[in-house]
Subunit: 269 residues, 3 copies
Amino acid sequence: MTIDAHRIWLDVEKIRQESPLIHNITNYVVMNLTANALLSIGASPVMAHAEEEVADMVKIASALVINIGTLSEKWVNAMQRAIRQAKALDKPIILDPVGAGATPYRTETTRHLLEEAPPTILRGNASEIRAIVTIDTKTKGVDSITTPEAALEAARYLSQQYDCVVCISGKTDWVVQGNQLIKISNGHPLMPRVTGLGCTATALCGAFSAVSESAFQATVGAMATLGIAGELAAQNANGPASFQMHLLDALYNLKETDFTERLKLEIVS
Amino acid sequence: MTIDAHRIWLDVEKIRQESPLIHNITNYVVMNLTANALLSIGASPVMAHAEEEVADMVKIASALVINIGTLSEKWVNAMQRAIRQAKALDKPIILDPVGAGATPYRTETTRHLLEEAPPTILRGNASEIRAIVTIDTKTKGVDSITTPEAALEAARYLSQQYDCVVCISGKTDWVVQGNQLIKISNGHPLMPRVTGLGCTATALCGAFSAVSESAFQATVGAMATLGIAGELAAQNANGPASFQMHLLDALYNLKETDFTERLKLEIVS
Amino acid sequence: MTIDAHRIWLDVEKIRQESPLIHNITNYVVMNLTANALLSIGASPVMAHAEEEVADMVKIASALVINIGTLSEKWVNAMQRAIRQAKALDKPIILDPVGAGATPYRTETTRHLLEEAPPTILRGNASEIRAIVTIDTKTKGVDSITTPEAALEAARYLSQQYDCVVCISGKTDWVVQGNQLIKISNGHPLMPRVTGLGCTATALCGAFSAVSESAFQATVGAMATLGIAGELAAQNANGPASFQMHLLDALYNLKETDFTERLKLEIVS
């Protein structure tokens, strides 16, 4: 079945009805925003990073979101343990390799986590996705300087290598799985001026993957939802901070017509 | 003397005048919101979690707030040390067992902290309070699936066992101490859609306990204040994020008539 | 050349054009606000605190911002390593001794960091700056109870001792380097009611130091910019939380006339 506005909307409704528990091991910068975005869309967030409890938390969660934005040794150990547990229990694993390519530590940690168990969904910006495959890309901190197009080859490779969905987010979001490719062009120029909206997209992938028919549809739904909420937010924003507030409010207030009227989705292959 | 709107208001005025220093060892998700809520009500927040300094920080603080929302070994050690110091110096200890029952690690840590020294105030949702007493409750992450009524027995037990005030927060807040029971019905349905408002309630218990005549009155005052601020915030909110902003503004702008006109307090026993 | 509104504005424009990467090792409470403030002014923030990667991150960054607001052993180790790397590569180091004087651990850590390498800019409130020099000041948590005037002697001493710019922020900001002294009187009374605006000032010093002709001009520019944004924010604020939102929006929307019409700068010596 084709992914369209109505099918994405049905997933939003399912999130609101089922309120799936999403276990996040994420970075300090975005924890509050991530939790609030998940609550706004209707999911139930939990943050837990102690090695003593991550396996227990994965057990009661519907999806595991791993984000390496502010990593350190103990957190990486906990991520590995949580990933192993999610794999054993066949729960969706969503991986955000924040800053891969910026430092060897981040690139190598990303590779270790990928080896621990293939993620269900891998979401990053163009330079991060490229950096996982090659080390000859330049990354400027956690922001991208590689075009999405240039990263597409890397995404296809990673999707095949790990049998997972790969999403390259940017002005246009690309969602890749095997030979399938969908482009989503929703969003607003203020989005990169708010910290953690990429991480928010990753967390939403977690919420959608908990209810959606496929990981591919979940990723498309999450990216479209965030982009459309961004467009709605921009109508009332005076700058990045009011934009962020309106975006969370928009996630909470989304209705089906927001998708039918605004969704810019192109099925490339 | 009976706790009423006027007495709660006098405590708000005292917080504004004395600006008590509240030492928080809390979770990463809510630290910013907690600090801003304490500043908005007129208190002075400080966050410190290093074993090297918690005893010194407790010494200059007027209350200690412990919240296990994102715990790990070193943080638990620091919490224990801080609690011992607060006990030695006879300062109020407020404990928020976030997610007790969700994982054994959280339930057991809560019990260890209770054994270290009885808290002055223990505040959680219904499933957390029940989980401390029994392990046969189901907790869904940090959200409650036990009714407040079902947790009342556990609250009474804990209040007697540790000679402390126990607060079960939810749509209706229950404040228990020995045979005393007060119900507060202020608040708004958007409150559980904002992360960390339970933690905010706990931090406000810290601020009120630094100035109030009794821990029981402090707890009632804190819960009523947050609920009333929530009602005021809802008047201008379009969703959870604007609601949060207006709630902090409301805490800052509270006046006596907000309490006299809005307080829904029932002295049950 | 004299520092005036036009020269500060040119630095703002440079930040927007060059979008310098600012590496922050800062406290949990303010990370999100710091990142958003840097994005709003046009810089590119990154947070990284693992010993494994701080040296690599400093290498690609334009400035290093160190803030001890929620310190612990591993973080202090990472701060020291990052400072050594920044010194070796001759990159600006901005140090914020949050809570120095509140506990011996903070005061001593500040001194250790100063010994590791002199910072380019040291920014704190009056009691923090005094506490670094003497231990006979009283600090109330992270808030100041020493007047800026009383701390000026300490600032002059530290500026000479470490050959750095020292900024004492408060109702009036004092920027000291050797015999130079500039007073900035922009700002708004709501600013101390929002957590982390001192830390925001420090982070902005990082952004300005990445583009400015001198560290002295960078510090003056950062403090003036934040103060003016605060004045603009207050025009639409109803309390501390809406104030914070408008402040970030104001940083994003700043134009030259905001500086020419509002800058209150006095060159004392």
